[in-house]
Symmetry: C2
Subunit: 146 residues, 2 copies
């Protein structure tokens, strides 16, 4: 079972979106302030939030086209799942096709993560378009689970 999303970021090429997915500063600008680690292939990125976090191995990067991650530590439901980012340019927009693949069950936490990913993707869009995202702990609160 997969979480799917699509956003369009108004920017003349995929370069800035790609940078926001493949640099520690970029990732910290839209997902969580507390990002560290190695964003190159084979490296591990550590993302930390108030209740916990994720360790994610970088499986693939193709400049301005593709990024693929595998979750190696974090909530049980996330471990072993993959997160796939596909970028392409359509006129004035960089289109981001997002997939968080390999959920075993459609648990309530999967519902939550789907909505939360959508919200973080809007944060990524805002970061590139305006220079300011809404990463944790300044992220948009969607529920009692934050």
């Amino acid at each position: 079972m997969d979480i799917l999303h699509r956003i369009g970021v108004k920017t003349p090429s995929p370069d800035l979106v790609y940078d926001a997915l493949t640099t520690v500063d970029g990732l910290a600008g839209w997902w969580t302030d507390d990002t560290s680690g190695d964003p190159d292939v084979g490296g591990v990125l550590e993302f930390r939030f108030i209740p916990g976090g994720f360790d994610i191995e970088v499986l693939d990067v193709v400049p301005s086209e593709h990024v693929e991650w595998k979750v190696i530590d974090g909530p049980e439901e996330w471990i072993g799942t993959t997160i796939d980012w596909d970028l392409h340019q359509d006129g004035d927009y960089t289109i981001v096709l997002f997939k968080h693949e390999g959920w075993k069950e459609p648990v309530e936490f999967m519902h939550h993560c789907s909505t939360k990913w959508g919200s973080y993707l809007m944060s990524l869009k805002s970061l590139v378009e305006t220079g300011e995202g809404a990463p944790s702990p300044r992220d948009v609160q969607i529920s009692n689970w934050h």
Copy 2:
């Protein structure tokens, strides 16, 4: 293939969320201004947006607990899919579990609709919490597809 979401609406009971899903005025307050039709079981609701719209049959309503819809006209990918709303109270929040079920293929339009649903659910949350949603045509633009 299903689109899943979860939001929590800060409100003391599910009543206002239920009203926003089962009255023409409520639906017009968060999804689209141009809502008409019959929100009772067996009725058909007509939702119209700038590029087109959806005709949706109401399959089930259980006050303050459950609403289920079936799409009977609209984009080809939507016809025959079902949309399921499950409500329950958790402390200060009404939890909304949302499922748009029965997509045949994970097409780019499904990615788009997933993100767009998340955004409209935040509009529903805002409507109930503040009295003001962001229905079409004042909806949040997520891409070149709106």
